[in-house]
Subunit: 142 residues, 2 copies
DNA sequence: CTGTACCTTGACCCTGGGGCAAGGTGTAGC
DNA sequence: GCTACACCTTGCCCCAGGGTCAAGGTACAG
């Protein structure tokens, strides 16, 4: 029985996503009502590929599968999705800013730790890494 | 039978880590040979608390449990840990720099997407979000 | 007919724990 | 002693976003 439409592997190759990822999207409800062949193969049409491109784009800018699912549901119901998408983008931008700030602080901390790691410990003459090794008694460590 | 030493909950409170986390550390081999009471309760001494503080510190600067385990093993074997720790820190700093660059690019992309989301689509007069909604035919979406 | 390339579902693995359940234990009050 | 309650034990499932492997069915070329 010849297959009309794209199998999951073909769709994966065209979109640039793994077949496993596509099955995951379907199982999470992002890609409902995928046609099946008599033997159970998924058969994707151009509409499905469009949705998959959408998902890939949305994933690439950090949206989660649940968020993407919500946007897709809005689209399917004929709603305007711009407001929702912009809100999601704003949330993600804000979170990225927080993450950036955290990473900068972490980077500074790591640099300090790196510098401190070379200093000598006065307690017992051993060279230890101050920033990290705070209170491990030598009795049980060495 | 009165318990001599800190139970997992007491240790957790003193260190500022969840009891569940402490059990995880033990199960991953970061905290070997924890003493047990006759009834099976974990009993932590000051040495254990020192190791737990070490783990908390190391976790706070982004080291993974496996990495921390390696450093602890070096310490237990009497090795100098500074070199290893510095190498780990360098790895993490480099990865943070990569992540920072990625996040900056992502932030820029999101800002572009946000701006583009407000523009109108010429195809069918509907206002859609260009950056994301690329090719989903209206036939099946709306 | 056979080879092999692809498909299916299912289950387990990763991080670093969170949360829950069933049952044992420590301790205090009465 | 009995009870109440907090805390402990182990074990299992859950989170994101899949990766990887297994057992078995299917499409297609030669």
């Amino acid at each position: 029985m010849p297959l009309s439409g794209y199998t999951v592997g073909q769709a994966a190759k065209r979109i640039g996503v793994s077949a496993k990822a596509i099955r995951l999207y379907e199982s999470r409800g992002l890609l409902p009502d995928v046609r099946r062949s008599e033997s159970g193969y998924r058969l994707f049409d151009e509409t499905d590929l469009g949705i998959l491109r959408f998902i890939r784009q949305a994933r690439s800018i950090g949206l989660g599968l649940d968020e993407i699912k919500d946007v897709l549901a809005l689209q399917r119901s004929g709603q305007q999705t711009c407001g929702r998408v912009v809100a999601l983008l704003d949330d993600h931008i804000a979170e990225i800013d927080r993450t950036l700030a955290d990473l900068y602080a972490l980077r500074a901390t790591l640099n300090d730790a790196r510098a401190a790691a070379f200093s000598e410990d006065g307690r017992d003459g051993a060279v230890v890494c101050h920033m990290i090794e705070t209170d491990i008694p030598r009795s049980r460590v060495g």
